[in-house]
């Protein structure tokens, strides 16, 4: 007689066989085969052994959790405070350096404007002079 594969018996013990005809085939076989019946019984006995496996329960678990949660939320808050102050400091530094750059640029623009005005004035005067070469050079210089 051909025996049932042990892995199939293991699945059967766990109720994991979906096909009804396979289930029926196993049940019929277990009625007539002592070897497979023994294997089946040993698997059932093993299942009862695992029922004794447990980890001792901790009565104050939730209390300990609440404590941990509070600490975690507080550290999160202080982290946020730190990041917020750090962010503010960064923005202030940026604004300061930006206004400093703006101020220096403005100053240099006004100096350039003064210089250009003088150059334009000079070239304007040259237009009315007899010296055409000077006019051309001034205009080129202007470009």
């Amino acid at each position: 007689m051909k025996h049932i594969e042990k892995i199939l018996l293991s699945k059967y013990v766990d109720g994991e066989i979906k096909k009804e005809e396979t289930k029926k085939m196993i049940e019929d076989h277990l009625k007539v085969c002592n070897y497979c019946k023994d294997v089946y019984n040993s698997y059932i006995n093993i299942n009862s052994l695992i029922k004794n496996y447990d980890v001792k329960s901790d009565e104050n678990a939730y209390l300990a959790f609440v404590e941990k949660k509070v600490n975690f939320l507080n550290s999160k808050k202080s982290n946020f405070k730190f990041s917020f102050s750090f962010g503010i400091a960064l923005v202030l530094i940026f604004l300061f350096s930006f206004s400093l750059t703006l101020f220096t640029t403005k100053r240099s623009i006004s100096t350039t404007n003064k210089v250009s005005t003088t150059v334009v004035d000079k070239s304007f005067n040259n237009l009315f002079s007899e010296d055409y070469t000077s006019v051309v050079s001034t205009v080129n210089f202007g470009r």
């Binding site: 766990d14 093993i46 959790f65 941990k68």
Partner: protein
């Protein structure tokens, strides 16, 4: 209706609406189960307690991102398995027990801490099984999970779970025989 009778999904919804007591219900419903899973990795009661607390803190923080693609318990067990493995990795790095190449099967090599209480026969035998067999067997027999769910938790195929549970049974048989003869 008492809150104790509410299913996980409703408790999660209530918690997300700001009801802290619903989270307490979830905590109390699953604490022992999670602790059992973690303990089967850490083999040390105090470590298991700490990791279990960390797991619930993580769940508390990330419940908003739970997509409800699987059952809450499946998701919770998956988080538990992942965090237990990370804990062991961290601990093994700290103790520098073995090289990085051996990380894959570190759980078997991990030196056990002294248990804080006497282990019964079931525990003794279970802890002699390879880690995945042990976990698949506990999830199936103790937590009553179907192979499909175990596959999701352990991130393996259903066929692999079949084989793991079967091999666990065969190994337990051998270990029981050994134990009898001792």
């Amino acid at each position: 209706m008492e809150k104790n009778n509410l299913n996980d999904e409703i408790l999660i919804e209530n918690f997300l609406k700001g009801d802290e007591y619903s989270f307490r219900m979830l905590f109390e419903r699953y604490y022992d189960n999670v602790n059992r899973i973690v303990y089967s990795y850490t083999k040390n009661y105090d470590d298991a307690k700490d990791v279990t607390q960390e797991i619930f803190l993580k769940v508390y923080e990330s419940l908003k991102s739970f997509k409800k693609k699987s059952k809450f318990s499946t998701w919770l067990y998956r988080v538990s398995v992942n965090m237990s493995i990370s804990f062991l990795r961290k601990k093994s790095k700290e103790k520098n027990f073995f090289s990085l190449e051996e990380v894959g099967d570190f759980e078997e090599k991990f030196e056990e801490d002294k248990p804080s209480y006497d282990r019964n026969l079931a525990e003794k035998i279970l802890f002699e099984l390879p880690e995945k067999q042990r976990l698949a067997f506990i999830l199936s027999q103790k937590e009553g999970k179907r192979y499909k769910e175990i596959a999701q938790i352990l991130n393996v195929s259903e066929k692999a779970v079949e084989a793991l549970v079967y091999r666990a049974r065969e190994n337990i048989k051998i270990l029981l025989e050994k134990n009898k003869s001792m």
